[in-house]
Structure formats: C-alpha cells, structure tokens
C-alpha cells in the first residue's frame, strides 16, 4: 500500500512524530478493542440473563395461568347442577351455565365437547356446535393423561388461546369441559412492563401470524426473529445509526403438527451498549488529543535534537570549507550540549593550530613546520649526510644604496620568493634568509636520498628563473641581479638548536661552511654555480667544468671547485676550442708549470665565459713568478680570506 519511500524520512522530527503516532495509535486501538470486547461480552451476558429471566417469567406466568384455569375448570366439572342439566340434555341451559362460569372466572371461552370430539356447547358464537373439532390433539392429550387433563395453545379464529381441558363426570366420564384464555397484547404488554424485554408472539404453520408484540415494526423483518444469532431491525448496514441491534431468544410455547406457537424475547443490544458508545466518544476524543500531544511532544523533542545537530552540521560544513564557525545557541545540558561545547573547543583548537601552522610556515620552511607540528621539537641534533646550498646577490650592498629601501625590499622579496620556489620545487628547505643570502638544506629535515641531485637541479633552475626575472626587473626599472650559488654535500649536524624557549632547525658543521665558502668563491671564477668535488661525484649525470683545487680558510682538506653547467653553458663550452686550452692550463698550474699557463690561456679573450677564471690564473701566475712558488706545491691554491 505504501511505497518504500514512505518510510524513508528525510526529517528526524517527522520520523519521530510518525512513529510515535503509529505506536500510540496501535496502543489506543488495542485498548479500544479490549474495552469494546469486554463491554460487549458483559452486555451480552447481561442481556442473555435478562432474556432468561423474561423467559422464566413468561413460562411461570403461563404455567400459573394454566394451573388457575384448570382449578377453575374443575370447579365446574364437579358442579352437581351442571351435571343434572347435562343429563337432561338441555343445551341452552348448558350454554348459559358455561357463560355464567366463564364470566365468573374471567375466561375468554368455555366449551363442552363430547367424547368423540364434537362440540356440544360453546360460549363462542364463532364455534360450530355439533361439529367435530378439526384439531382435537388437546383432547387426545387429555385422554392420555392420568386424570384426563391437558393444556396447550391452539390457534383458532385468528387468535392464540391457551386452553385447558378437564374430563366431565356424571359420574362416569361423559364429556370434556374446555376453558380458554387469549394470549393477547395486554398479556404481552404486562410482561414487557415487568421485564423490560420486548416480546413478540407468533403462530406458524403454513404461514406466520403475529399474535402480539411491537417488534419488528417492519413485517418483512419478522423472519429474522425465528433465526439464530443476533438480529438487526431497521437498516442493517448501519446498525448504530439506522438499524437497531437486538439479542433475541425464542421460547417455544406450543409445537404441534397443526402449528407452532413461539414467543420471541428481544433486548436492545444498542441500549445495553450505550455506556460503551459514550465511552467510545470519550476514547475517541482522548485518542485524538493524545495523538496531537504525542505529535507535538515528539516534534518539540525532535527539535531539541535536530536543532543542535543542524547547527553542528553547519559548523562542520563550514569547517570543511576552512571556515571556523562556532556552534551557536546550543545551551542544553545534555549530551548534545556537551557535544556542541566539545565541538567548539575542537574548533578553537583547530583554529589555533592552523594559525600556528600558517605562521610557522611563513617563519620556517613548510617542511620544517610540518616536522615541528608532527612531533614536539626537541633540542638536539643528529649527524646526517645532507647537501647545503648558499646563494647570494653580487654587489647587493652597492645596489641597495642606489634604490630606496622600499624598492629594495620589494625587489629583494620578489627575488627571494622566486628562488625559494625553486628550492621548494626540488624538496629543499630554506633554512634561513641572511639578508639577500639564502641558506638551504637538502635531505633534512625529511630524509631524501636524492638530496645532492635535487640541490644541483634547484641551482640550475634558479639560473633559468633568474634569467626570466631579469626581464621583469628591467621593465620595472629595477637593477639586474647576479647571484652566486655554492653547493656542497657531506655530513652535518642537523636538528633544533638554540635554547629551550627559542630554537631553530638548522644544520651546522664543515659541510655548511664549505658550501658558504664555495658561494663566496663565485666572484673570483665568474661562474654563478660552484660545487664541490663531493657534489660532482654524487651527481655524475650533470655537466661540470673543473675550475680549481683550493684550500679554504679554516679547512685543511683541499676541495675541488667545479662549475655546474646549464645546458646552454654546456653547449657554449663544447663549441669553444678554448675550453681545452683552459683545461690544459689548469693541468699546467697544478704541476707548477706556471710559465706555460699564460700562453695556454692567451687564446681566451674578453667576453668568453672563461675570461674571468683565465684572468684569475694569469694574476696568480704573475704573483707566483714574482714571489716564487710556494713550498711543497701540490696544485692547491690557499684562500686565506673568506
């Protein structure tokens, strides 16, 4: 009957209301039917008792009447004068005597019938004297009786008469005396008044004749009275409105082949059920009221649940979008109230954490910030192989003097942002900005086995980006920037350093220093990206140009200095025959064959990418020539200053 969707509520309040209503309806229906059943059974029992009482009263009255009639009849049959008249055969006197006696005892009819069943005398002029009675079953019954007496109902002259028969002795049995009294409306009315039951009397043979009784008003319904079960008089389709529902009980008064006399006793079921009908109206009102209340109550109750849930939902939805919308207006003290409070606390916590994270991401690198948020920072570090990169802007101090401070900040920020992006893109971490310089770590804090490759790739990318950035700078009237980048890979101590209150994630050690030194050397060699021989070994896939072997200040170990080449630089060098001369010059320099070096470098002119480094070697050779070669020359140049 209902589609499946009927039960799939989208609203909790509606679901609760419907279920409450359904349950309540079931309960009330159960109560209603239980009450109806009990009251109906009770009414039936009471009515049946009342009908039985009426039946007993009717039977007793008829029995009493029969007894009284018989007594009255016997008086006549023993009357000597009557016998004498009978012996004389004086029919008129006999009739008169019968009439006299009938009046004396208030009977309706008296008859004298001979032993053959012929009516000798009757007080009823409708009786045919000297004719045999058509129905002489009552006489037969009397003749079979010990004392010749009988009683019964006979339908005669369209009347139902209770007859009594007694033998008439003179002194031998000579005739029958009969006395009758009509069962009429008055008799039934008296019974009705006494017992409050409706009584209808029928005589049935081939047809049905109603002798007395008010019901049913419609004669077509009479047949119902002689059936079993309850009956409905009036409109059977609407027993409570048009029709009247009755319980009935037929009482057989007489049953003979000639016909059957039946008294049907009726009690109104509706009347007996009147208290229930009143109760039903009350129940109906109660049902409607309680249903309404239940729906209202469930609606209020549901709202107490759905409102906080809806607000929580809205806040959660906002949270998903990244908005922090606290749950408002949930002031309940129950579980939902607690939930809302806790949600708000959570929201507050998230908001704080996000604020910290945002701030942290700006102050420190995103990877460091993540690492810090993941686990509480602990003071201390670990030894790890990492790659360190340093960058710097050539002549920044001079440039900053030429431009207003705000412009300087503006282009410095633009520059640093672009450079930092290149580092981020290669999983590097900006450890710190030192003025225009950047210190970046690769392989820390997150371990990364390709840290050296990433660092070199980042440095090469920075060259490309910087070239593009130059154009923007030019259009805005900003100066052209030249950078130096130093990269070294090796062991370093990484971790949180500083004090317990304030700490930095950073790397320290020789590796860091060497990277910084290499960056510082860029200005001497005229190449923007210098890497150590350790880097070259770790990343053979890139193209390098060996420039020098040096010993930097504070470091005993010499280090090979190489220029990392962009593909353009690589092509350029490859096409240049001077590259070989330069390499031979470097070899000669290492051997200490400094006289050959200037001639080998002579082909390298101004404008060549090797011009600066060639000039450097020329100067060194000149100095060595003038001052003499250092002792124990091993081809390693010492830089005393930073």
């Amino acid at each position: 009957m209902f589609s499946q969707h009927f039960w799939q509520f989208r609203s909790f309040a509606r679901r609760l209301a419907v279920w409450m209503a359904v349950l309540l309806l079931l309960l009330l229906t159960g109560i209603y039917f239980a009450i109806e059943n009990t009251l109906e059974r009770n009414a039936r029992s009471t009515l049946n008792q009342a009908l039985e009482v009426t039946a007993a009263t009717l039977t007793a009255r008829l029995s009493d009447q029969r007894g009284v009639l018989l007594d009255k009849l016997r008086l006549l049959s023993a009357d000597f004068a009557f016998k004498q008249v009978f012996a004389d055969g004086d029919r008129d006197t006999l009739r008169s005597a019968l009439e006299n006696h009938r009046n004396r005892v208030h009977a309706n009819v008296m008859q004298l019938i001979d032993l053959d069943g012929k009516v000798l005398v009757s007080t009823d002029p409708r009786d045919q004297e000297n004719q045999k009675l058509p129905d002489h079953w009552l006489l037969t019954r009397a003749s079979e009786h010990e004392f010749g007496e009988a009683a019964g109902f006979v339908f005669v002259h369209q009347e139902l008469v209770q007859y009594v028969v007694s033998p008439f002795f003179t002194p031998q049995h000579s005739a029958w005396v009969v006395m009758g009294i009509r069962l009429d409306a008055a008799f039934i009315e008296t019974l009705r008044t006494q017992t409050h039951s409706e009584v209808t009397v029928f005589w049935q043979n081939t047809e049905r004749v109603r002798i007395a009784g008010r019901l049913p008003e419609n004669p077509q319904e009479e047949a119902q009275l002689l059936t079993d079960g309850d009956i409905t008089l009036g409109d059977a389709r609407l027993p409570t409105l048009g029709g009247r529902h009755y319980l009935h009980m037929p009482v057989l008064l007489e049953s003979q082949p000639q016909g059957k006399a039946t008294a049907v006793l009726l009690r109104s079921f509706d009347e007996a059920m009147t208290p229930f009908y009143r109760l039903r109206n009350v129940l109906l009102a109660l049902c409607c009221g309680s249903l309404l209340l239940a729906v209202l109550a469930s609606s209020v109750l549901a709202r107490r649940v759905t409102n906080p849930v809806r607000r929580l939902g809205e806040s959660a939805q906002a949270l998903a979008k990244g908005e922090y919308l606290p749950v408002q207006g949930v002031n309940q003290q129950d579980e939902l109230g607690t939930l809302a409070t806790q949600f708000n606390h959570m929201l507050h916590g998230l908001q704080e954490r996000d604020a910290v994270r945002g701030l942290l991401g700006k102050v420190v690198s995103t990877a460091v910030a993540e690492e810090l948020l993941k686990s509480p920072p602990i003071l201390g570090g670990e030894l790890r192989t990492i790659t360190v990169m340093f960058t710097d802007i050539r002549n920044f101090t001079r440039l900053s003097e030429q431009f207003p401070a705000t412009t300087v900040i503006e282009f410095l920020n633009a520059y640093l942002s672009e450079m930092s992006s290149c580092i981020d893109a290669e999983c590097g971490v900006v450890d710190k900005y030192i003025g225009d310089a950047i210190m970046a770590l690769f392989g820390a804090p997150l371990p990364n086995h390709k840290h050296t490759e990433n660092a070199v790739r980042a440095a090469l990318a920075m060259q490309q980006v910087l070239a593009a950035l130059q154009q923007t700078f030019t259009t805005r009237g900003w100066p052209a920037l030249h950078t130096g980048i130093g990269i070294h890979t090796g062991e370093a101590v990484v971790g949180n350093m500083g004090s317990a209150q304030r700490l930095n994630y950073t790397a320290i050690g020789d590796t860091v220093n060497l990277a910084s030194r290499l960056e510082g050397l860029c200005k001497y060699y005229g190449w923007p990206v210098l890497v150590s021989d350790a880097v070259v070994q770790a990343t053979p896939q890139f193209a390098y140009l060996e420039l020098d072997r040096v010993r930097v200040q504070g470091r005993a170990q010499p280090v090979g200095v190489f220029a990392a080449l962009t593909p353009q630089q690589q092509t350029m060098l490859h096409a240049d025959a001077q590259t070989q001369d330069f390499e031979q010059a470097v070899q000669a320099w290492r051997r200490g064959d400094i006289e050959q070096v200037p001639s080998l470098l002579s082909a390298i002119h101004e404008g060549s990418p090797l011009a600066t480094v060639a000039a450097l070697y020329r100067v060194r050779c000149q100095v060595f020539t003038e001052q003499g070669m250092p002792d124990h020359w091993q081809g390693v140049y010492d830089y005393d200053s930073k």
């Binding site: 037969t140 002194p171 031998q172 049995h173």
Partner: protein
C-alpha cells in the same frame, strides 16, 4: 380414540360339569383375570324361564366408596343403599336406565330403589366425586359377575343355543359369543376382553381424619 378389537371367546369342553351350568372365565388382553365383568345371556328367553324378583340387593357405602363397585341385578330388583360411614352421602344417578337421587343421608337408610329397566346405571355421590358404582340391570336372571380370579359360574341355563355377552366399564367393545348348550356335559365359556383406561375422578389424600 377407539380401536375396534375383536374379543375372542374360547369354548372349552369339560365333562366334569352339568349341562345347565356354565363356567365363565374372563381375561384381558394381557392374559390377566378380569374381576367385576358381567357375563349375561343376550338371547331372548320365554317369560316363564325368567327369574322372579328376589330379596333386595345391598350396595354399601363404606369408607367413602360404593361396595361393590360393580354389581348385576335382574330387572325389577330393589337395591338398598345403606350408609355405613359416619358422614352423609348424596347418592344419585343420571343414567337413562334409572335416574334417581337420595339426598344427603347418614343413619336412616332411605327406601330401597327398584330398577325396572334393563340397562347400565352409574351411581355417584354428590359429596365425593370419586365415589362411583355400576349396576348392570339384566332383563332376566341369566347373568353372573366374575370374582377376583376372573371366573364365575352361571347355573341352570336352558339347553339351547344361547348368545352370551360380557360387559365391563373398562372394556373397549362388547364381546358376544353364541353357544349351543347340550345336556350331556358342562362347558367353560372364556372371554378375552380388551381393557381401556377409564378416567375417574381423583381421590386425594385426606388432610384431616374425618373430613375428606
């Protein structure tokens, strides 16, 4: 309701009896002896053979009953009705054979009543409904009444063909039998009658010793 039943008479030869005497035996449909059955000769007999009136017959009233209940007399016989109870009785008859009335009497017996007409007279008492008595008034002296054993003897019967009948208040039909009587030997006349229930006024228990 009456059904016609045939009463059968059996004539049994008996050499022990005289020719003019007749042993009578009356039984009912159940084979039980019937007391008080009146057996009489129907055949019309010459006047000289009819018996003369004998001394009065007595029907007593003892303990509010007529004694005997059934009696047979020849026509012209006088019957005395003495009252042996200490209360009064009112004897009457409305029978066509003899209608009479002996109003309330006790000690002084009324004059005897002569029953001239043959027939059956039913006696009653106006005081006591149940008191009834039957007098069979025969036209001659050839009758007898059976005793308790249902038998009786009819004496000095003329030796000729005679028709016998039996009468009893409870019999359904009158049984008639014709028999040729011969001097050479006695015989027994047996009647089998069908008894019916005859309604009688009910005699109830007396509440006081003397009043009912």
């Amino acid at each position: 309701m009456r059904r016609n039943l045939i009463a059968t008479a059996l004539l049994i030869m008996s050499s022990a009896l005289l020719a003019q005497d007749m042993r009578i035996k009356v039984i009912n449909q159940r084979g039980e002896p019937v007391a008080g059955a009146v057996v009489y000769v129907v055949t019309s007999l010459p006047a000289d053979k009819q018996p003369t009136t004998a001394e009065p017959v007595i029907i007593d009233q003892i303990n509010k009953e007529f004694v005997p209940h059934i009696s047979a007399i020849a026509a012209g016989t006088a019957v005395k009705f003495p009252n042996r109870d200490n209360i009064r009785h009112h004897v009457y008859s409305f029978s066509p054979a003899k209608s009479f009335e002996l109003p309330l009497y006790k000690d002084a017996p009324p004059a005897p009543v002569v029953f001239e007409k043959p027939g059956i007279v039913t006696l009653g008492c106006n005081i006591h409904d149940w008191m009834t008595s039957y007098i069979f008034v025969a036209p001659h002296r050839y009758f007898t009444v059976t005793g308790k054993d249902g038998s009786a003897t009819m004496r000095d019967l003329p030796a000729q063909a005679l028709e016998f009948e039996v009468w009893h208040p409870r019999q359904k039909e009158v049984a008639t039998v014709t028999r040729q009587l011969v001097a050479t030997g006695g015989m027994t006349l047996a009647f089998r009658i069908e008894e019916k229930t005859v309604l009688r006024p009910f005699r109830g228990q007396a509440n006081s010793k003397n009043s009912y």
